[in-house]
């Protein structure tokens, strides 16, 4: 059996370096603006955490292998080769100190997509065996058990039973020809089962047909986080197979950031063909239902609320207006953080960081950025649309003795649904 080696890592990096990467490296003007955009830099002031610096080994490899001057220097023995020890050191910068949030790419004055390159850098590090144990474990569970947190179909079915007991609604499994196929993140199944119930109630009210595939219900894609396309493709393929088998029209990515990036943007490229179905984030679906007048709500929240944008939704996905349209249906006193929408600050735990045990300290340090933002607003609660953001923010608030509820947007909407006579029981 082949195992990770430096050679495999270098080869993976060489494979990953493409025309955009070459253009980005050659056009970097070393201005350092990306540092100020990165919360791992702003909260530590450690220059090593400057986003473009996280790519230094890959940049040198590009120079030595793909540029004329670099080749000549390498030939003359003047180039410093990329070593195993160096990649091992960079693993911390690339996995623990980056959430792939994409904020650096937004501020680069020459338009370099740094996040795009960090994703590639992870490809090399994982092939070289320098991925963190936490992510390797999550990825292994995702491939072997079907979920990075080890959530089995049995566990999901148990949650479905609870929903049935609470609301009287059935969770439809493997219904062929349903309009929507819902994916879930393990985090939601385990920590926030309210999401599943909210979905059931909303679809019940709007009269849409939906289903969950017992073969592929997991939305998260550890292959993307660890940076191994082969594995990411395998995980995407499972969803595609299930969706095509059930002949659904739309696959819904849940309240999770990277899951959306994985299936919506990277998915077709990973499997090498277009999908036969549409992929939407749950917020996009809900906003469509709102537009069609199918989503009917009553009452408003009596507290002052703000919204935390999941990075992958706004920056990588452009889902900026839907959450605001939806929030305004049920919230009167809604305030925005200073940096919101496409320039939001990350919660500090995305891109696989939450799965790395060693990153616990830095992840909570990075949360200081969100803490400062929230302290300025004086809000009673925070709404978000990503289970991973939610758990990080809850933990961060707890750590900082800040008492503030964190609410999932879908769940909040479901709490305001107009009660129908035909509907089931009431939710909490």
């Amino acid at each position: 059996m082949s195992k990770a080696t430096l050679e495999r890592g270098i080869n993976a990096l060489k494979e990953q370096i493409d025309a955009p990467t070459a253009a980005f490296f050659s056009s970097c003007v070393h201005c350092g603006l990306c540092a100020q955009a990165c919360l791992f830099y702003t909260e530590t002031c450690d220059p090593a955490k400057t986003p473009i610096h996280k790519l230094e080994p890959m940049r040198r490899l590009w120079e030595q292998e793909y540029t004329l001057g670099g080749r000549i220097r390498k030939w003359l023995g003047l180039a410093k080769p990329v070593t195993d020890g160096e990649l091992a050191r960079w693993s911390e910068l690339v996995y623990q100190n980056c959430t792939l949030c994409g904020r650096c790419s937004m501020v680069c004055p020459v338009g370099n997509d740094i996040t795009y390159m960090i994703r590639k850098m992870r490809e090399g590090l994982s092939a070289a065996g320098h991925a963190p144990d936490g992510l390797i474990g999550a990825t292994t569970r995702a491939v072997k058990l079907g979920s990075p947190m080890g959530v089995t179909l049995k566990a999901l079915k148990a949650q479905a039973k609870h929903v049935k007991e609470d609301s009287g609604l059935d969770i439809p499994f493997d219904v062929e020809g349903a309009e929507y196929m819902v994916l879930l993140s393990s985090m939601e199944v385990i920590n926030y089962p309210e999401y599943l119930q909210a979905i059931a109630r909303i679809f019940d009210q709007t009269g849409k047909t939906w289903t969950i595939s017992s073969q592929a219900f997991e939305a998260t894609n550890s292959g993307i986080q660890i940076g191994t396309s082969d594995i990411a493709a395998e995980l995407v393929q499972r969803v595609v197979d299930a969706a095509e088998k059930l002949k659904v029209q739309t696959v819904i990515s849940p309240e999770c950031g990277h899951a959306y990036t994985a299936i919506r943007w990277e998915g077709p490229n990973l499997i090498g063909r277009p999908f036969t179905f549409k992929v939407q984030h749950i917020l996009e679906v809900l906003d469509e239902l709102r537009e069609q007048g199918l989503l009917r709500v009553e009452g408003v929240e009596d507290s002052r609320l703000t919204f935390h944008d999941p990075c992958q939704l706004v920056r990588r996905g452009g889902v900026i207006d839907p959450p605001r349209n939806l929030i305004k249906m049920v919230v009167d006193d809604f305030v925005e953080m200073k940096d919101h929408g496409k320039m939001n600050w990350c919660c500090g735990a995305g891109g696989g960081v939450s799965a790395i045990e060693e990153a616990a300290e830095i992840r909570l340090k990075a949360f200081n950025r969100k803490k400062k933002q929230l302290a300025k607003l004086k809000v009673d609660g925070l709404v978000t649309a990503c289970a991973n953001c939610r758990i990080q923010i809850e933990e961060g608030l707890e750590e900082n003795d800040m008492d503030m509820p964190v609410i999932g947007l879908t769940e909040m909407l479901a709490n305001h649904l107009v009660e129908e006579d035909t509907g089931g029981g009431t939710s909490s």
Partner: protein, 365 residues
């Protein structure tokens, strides 16, 4: 020429008041960027100055410099200063001719050996000695002979300072500047085609006052006059800053007095005092008359590309060199690109499927 009257006596005879004289001294001090306290020093020195002997040699030149310094000016203090020096030898201006003229030169050299000023206009041919001779003496020989006894040399005009028009490609006479031949004497280059008259008088005043030459730039020109370029001092500079350019000599921009950069103005690379001192008794300077600067006070100004080509255009015909350069660059780029592509293809072919079992290193036994 013993017991010559002093400069002030002569100026008085010419009807210049003491007030006018002091004004000149103060103006000269400020022009030369000397402290204001220097004006009385200049006045005192000039009052007592005996008419210094000046020998003026004209070689390959057009007499334009002499015209500029004498005839084109109304009689001013600068003109009078000229009357106040003992111009012992000057082809154009002296009354004597033939052997008598050469005698005057010889006499002046002997009487003031080591003290006289040598002014040169025109370049010196180094090709065939016969290209330019005076009284049967080649320019080269005459320069060497007169320079040997001079206190200092003032190279007037771009020809004497840098070779000028005769030096322009292909330089058929092998024309060179004074400084290319004389290396053991202080030389001041007063370049320009022609140079500004006040520069000459300023240098003379400095020499008479301090007995030395003024501070010079890297091309041997007095810093006081050549320290700034035309562009930095040009009254049209604000238009340049705003990107407002005349595109032709009769368009709206030209009529509105916009920047002439695109019409070939060499102001940005030309160091001279035209924009501040101006010409014709302070009337105007070329840019003010609607024509770009030609760059006449800079070395090789004839060969800096067309007068009407913008500075940003290549100055020489690029000819084949450009073609070959492009071809070589393209070939190198293509070769480098192919190598990179091969490298990448190789990397793709060497790809081994990564499974979850490959994420860790081989456990060491």
């Amino acid at each position: 020429m013993k017991n010559d009257p002093s400069l002030l006596d002569i100026l008085r005879q010419q009807g210049v008041s003491r007030r006018g004289f002091l004004k000149f001294c103060a103006a000269t001090a400020s022009l030369m960027a000397l402290p204001p306290g220097m004006a009385p020093v200049i006045a005192k020195a000039l009052e007592q100055a005996r008419r210094p002997s000046v020998i003026w040699l004209s070689f390959q030149e057009c007499t334009g410099c002499t015209e500029s310094l004498t005839r084109s000016h109304a009689p001013t203090l600068e003109g009078l200063i000229f009357d106040a020096i003992s111009l012992d030898y000057h082809h154009t201006l002296q009354a004597a001719s033939g052997t008598a003229a050469e005698e005057a030169r010889k006499t002046a050299m002997e009487e003031n050996r080591g003290k006289y000023l040598l002014v040169v206009d025109g370049s010196i041919p180094t090709g065939n000695a016969g290209y330019s001779t005076i009284a049967g003496i080649s320019n080269l020989d005459m320069l060497k002979e007169v320079a040997a006894g001079a206190a200092a040399i003032i190279a007037v005009g771009t020809c004497a300072a840098f070779g000028g028009l005769p030096h322009a490609s292909p330089n058929p006479t092998g024309a060179v500047a004074v400084s290319d031949i004389i290396t053991d004497k202080p030389i001041v280059n007063v370049s320009g085609c022609p140079p500004i008259p006040v520069v000459i008088t300023g240098v003379l005043a400095h020499f008479l006052t301090f007995g030395s030459l003024p501070e010079l730039d890297h091309l041997g020109r007095p810093m006081a006059f050549y320290g700034n370029n035309i562009h930095d001092r040009c009254y049209r500079r604000p238009f340049y800053e705003r990107g407002q350019f005349a595109e032709s000599f009769d368009d709206e921009g030209a009529k509105k007095g916009w920047c002439l950069y695109k019409l070939g103005c060499k102001g940005p690379v030309t160091y001279n005092a035209c924009a501040t001192t101006k010409w014709n008794n302070g009337t105007s300077f070329p840019i003010e008359s609607g024509h770009g600067c030609l760059g006449c006070s800079e070395p090789n100004f004839w060969d800096m590309g067309g007068f009407y080509n913008a500075l940003s255009e290549p100055s020489k015909g690029t000819g084949n060199a450009l073609g070959w350069g492009v071809a070589a660059g393209a070939a190198l780029g293509a070769a480098s690109g192919l190598m990179a592509r091969r490298e990448k293809d190789h990397a793709s072919r060497s790809h081994q499927q990564v499974t979850v079992d490959d994420l860790k290193r081989e456990e060491s036994p």
